[in-house]
């Protein structure tokens, strides 16, 4: 049994789904944040798989961009999350609803 590209794609889809569902159902901000990372990496896995399958380095270049954006996002996002927890210990995502119309 060979491990062809569809295995990787299936894995990526499963990871993405776990991330998306986690994003929707969890309230803990940190967990939601990790779910976002999970989705990003699912996308990265897809990029790499196709890059290899199609023999095109473009997909791997895109992964670098995603990684850099994710790193920047972690820096900003974690800072926000820490400041939220400082203000309100045990806060959930639903406590932050200032954008309610």
């Amino acid at each position: 049994m060979t491990v062809n590209v569809s295995w990787y794609l299936t894995l990526a889809a499963v990871l993405f789904t776990i991330g998306a569902v986690g994003m929707l159902v969890r309230r803990n901000i940190l967990v939601m944040f990790m779910c976002i990372e999970l989705m990003l990496n699912a996308a990265n896995l897809t990029f790499v798989s196709f890059s290899r399958e199609l023999n095109d380095v473009g997909g791997q270049v895109a992964v670098f961009f995603v990684l850099i954006v994710a790193a920047a996002e972690v820096v900003v996002g974690l800072a926000i999350i820490v400041s939220i927890y400082r203000r309100h210990v045990g806060a959930t995502a639903d406590d932050q609803h200032l954008l309610k119309g």
Binding site: A20, M23, L24, V25, M32, A93, D94, Q96, H97, L98, L99, K100, G101
Partner: protein
């Protein structure tokens, strides 16, 4: 000397520019004398220019000076400049001459007024505007002068603006004149559209390009303008109210000069009128109807100035009668002599008002002849002159108008003749009530009243005008071509359109005798009726006192519906329709936004769900499209 013509309007303008900022500091009476001097200088220049032009051959008496181009737009080019020709010079000369006298008179009349210098600011601005009106080389300059004199008229009628009646009289004059100005403007637009020029010389040399309809429209629209400015039917009520202004203003603006601007305009465009005989008939009939109606109203007025105001309207009607008959020289002749005797009558009545401590009701006067011999004598000359008693100036001028009217239509002549009798009658009534009979002011007022002739500043103009009113007829005696100076002088301007009056010597004498009989008859009736009687209710019916209810009718049928319409627009159209539309749009957005804002829950998971739903839909779409 013709090149000095630019100085004619310049002097009053300089006077205005000096007095407007510094008049108050210069003070009383120097400011008045400066204004008088400026107008006098203008008069001297006019006389010199007149001498220069008169020395030239008849064919080359038209000079157009274009100073600069004001605006260029497509084919239309409007310049600023003046046209010096016999007509404009005649006008300029009598305007500056009469203005000088009235300025001098005003120095005495306004002596005690707190706004002394402001009065002369307006007067100088008025003279400047009036001179631009008559000297302008195109209709735009004329129109600017036309509006300028209108504004000055407004300022001066409402000069004592703290009196509500003066303030509203000023507004009334302004609004009535706007009606006429509308016609004037439309005529200008039509000419721009058809001829692309408003210069008089260009218009008159291109008249063949205008269709008969256009010619009729232009002449009638210009006539509408003239009706407004010169207080003809149905736009004359403003002139009676204009008497709220100081008496020198009534004399200068509302008798001698400004109100004759309409007659001037008609004479100026005589080549157009000449091509539209029907418009001429209309003008003649409106003129003679105005003359008659105003004369009947004059018979029943009790305010010394209102009698003169309606008499002015009546005399202006005669001028339009002459214009309508094509006798432009007769119109100008009457305009000149009217300026002399009407200015005289107004100034004399101003002198009376001054002496009577601002009393204007002729029923409260009487027997002033002894107290004010000079005023009485000059007023008497004014009466004889306006009545048309030979050999005073009015006799010759009115006779000229009436004999021309006879040639066009005996009916016109008949109405004019009846008006002549009425004129002699109502002016006689006024003279008798003011200067003869019982001294009713002794009973009516406080005993401290000592009427006397006014200071020399006020008396001198009276004497000069009395001389002019007596001998003004000399400028145009109907005895052969060598004596009709005015007619020959104006011939280059109005000659082409002139009615050719082929009176024989016999007819001439018959008309003369008839006119004299009318005048003497009217005066005799006045003498027999008003010698010692103050009140004759049968001869002063309410209908005439209220000016045929014209003012009241205009108020009832035009002013009030218009006010109602304006209020309706303000309260209903503006508040409900326009504001309603604006508020409705705002309300619509407010309601829809109120609904839509509920979509924004503020929960991160909601936004995530929407994004993921979108993702799912997109994936589903691509999968279906690729046939999976």
């Amino acid at each position: 000397m013709i090149h000095a013509a630019f100085l004619i309007p310049l002097f009053p303008l300089v006077g205005f520019l000096i007095l407007a900022p510094f008049g108050r500091r210069i003070g009383n009476p120097i400011a008045g004398w400066i204004a008088t001097l400026m107008v006098l200088a203008s008069f001297v220049v006019t006389v010199l220019v007149f001498a220069g032009v008169a020395g030239e051959p008849v064919a080359s008496r038209l000079h157009v000076e274009n100073w600069f181009t004001w605006l260029n737009s497509g084919q239309l080019s409007i310049g600023v400049g003046i046209q010096v020709d016999p007509l404009s010079l005649t006008m300029a000369m009598f305007i500056t001459g009469i203005s000088t006298l009235i300025h001098c008179y005003s120095v005495g009349y306004m002596k005690l007024d707190e706004q002394f210098s402001k009065f002369f600011v307006y007067l100088n601005l008025f003279v400047f505007s009036m001179l631009m009106l008559v000297l302008g080389e195109n209709l735009v300059i004329t129109f600017l002068g036309w509006e300028g004199v209108g504004v000055c008229s407004y300022f001066l009628i409402a000069f004592w603006f703290t009196r509500p009646s003066a303030a509203s009289a000023g507004k009334k004059a302004m609004i009535y004149n706007r009606v006429g100005d509308g016609g004037f403007l439309l005529a200008l637009f039509l000419l721009i559209d058809k001829l692309h020029s408003l210069t008089f010389t260009t218009i008159f040399s291109h008249l063949s390009q205008l269709s008969p309809t256009d010619l009729t429209a232009v002449s009638l629209l210009l006539f509408v303008g003239a009706v407004g400015k010169s207080a003809q039917l149905p736009l004359f009520p403003w002139l009676a109210d204009a008497m709220e202004g100081p008496t020198p203003v009534s004399a200068l603006i509302h008798a001698a000069t400004m109100v004759t601007a309409g007659v001037y305009l008609m004479c100026r465009v005589n080549p157009i009128l000449h091509l539209v005989p029907n418009a001429g008939h209309l003008i003649a009939w409106i003129g003679v109807a105005t003359a008659f109606i105003a004369a009947t109203i004059g018979c029943a007025q009790t305010d010394i100035k209102k009698v003169l105001a309606y008499s002015t309207v009546s005399q202006l009607g005669y001028m339009f009668l002459a214009v309508g008959c094509g006798a432009y020289d007769a119109a100008i002749f009457l305009m000149l002599t009217h300026a002399f005797y009407k200015a005289l009558l107004f100034l004399a009545s101003g002198s009376v008002i001054h002496a009577m401590d601002d009393e204007q009701d002729i029923k409260n006067m009487g027997a002033l002849r002894r107290a004010m011999p000079l005023t009485s004598a000059t007023f008497f000359i004014g009466w004889l002159s306006i009545a048309g008693i030979p050999p005073f100036s009015g006799f010759w001028a009115k006779g000229d108008v009436l004999s021309n009217a006879w040639v066009v239509s005996p009916a016109l002549w008949a109405v004019g003749a009846v008006t002549a009798i009425l004129t002699a009658y109502y002016m006689g009534r006024q003279y008798l009530l003011v200067f003869l009979g019982e001294p009713r002011w002794k009973k009516a007022g406080a005993g401290s009243l000592h009427p006397h002739d006014a200071s020399w500043q006020m008396s001198m103009p009276l004497v000069v005008l009395a001389v002019l009113a007596s001998f003004g007829g000399l400028i145009n005696l109907p005895f052969g071509p060598h004596l009709t100076f005015l007619e020959s002088w104006l011939a280059p301007v109005v000659g082409s359109g002139l009615l050719h009056n082929t009176d024989s010597t016999l007819q001439l004498w018959m008309f003369g005798v008839a006119d004299a009989v009318f005048a003497i008859g009217g005066a005799t009736i006045a003498l027999s009726l008003w010698r010692n009687v103050v009140n004759r209710p049968a001869l002063e019916p309410q209908f005439l006192f209220m000016a045929w209810f014209l003012d009241a009718s205009i108020d009832r049928f035009i002013a009030r519906p218009s006010s109602a319409l304006a209020l309706f627009s303000a309260r209903v159209v503006d508040r409900q329709v326009i504001d309603g539309a604006v508020n409705g749009v705002a309300g619509l957005f407010k309601v829809s936004a109120g609904r839509l804002r509920r979509l924004q829950t503020g929960y991160v998971r909601t936004y995530a769900l929407v994004i993921i739903s979108g993702l799912v839909i997109m994936v589903a779409y691509f999968m279906i499209r690729s046939g999976l």
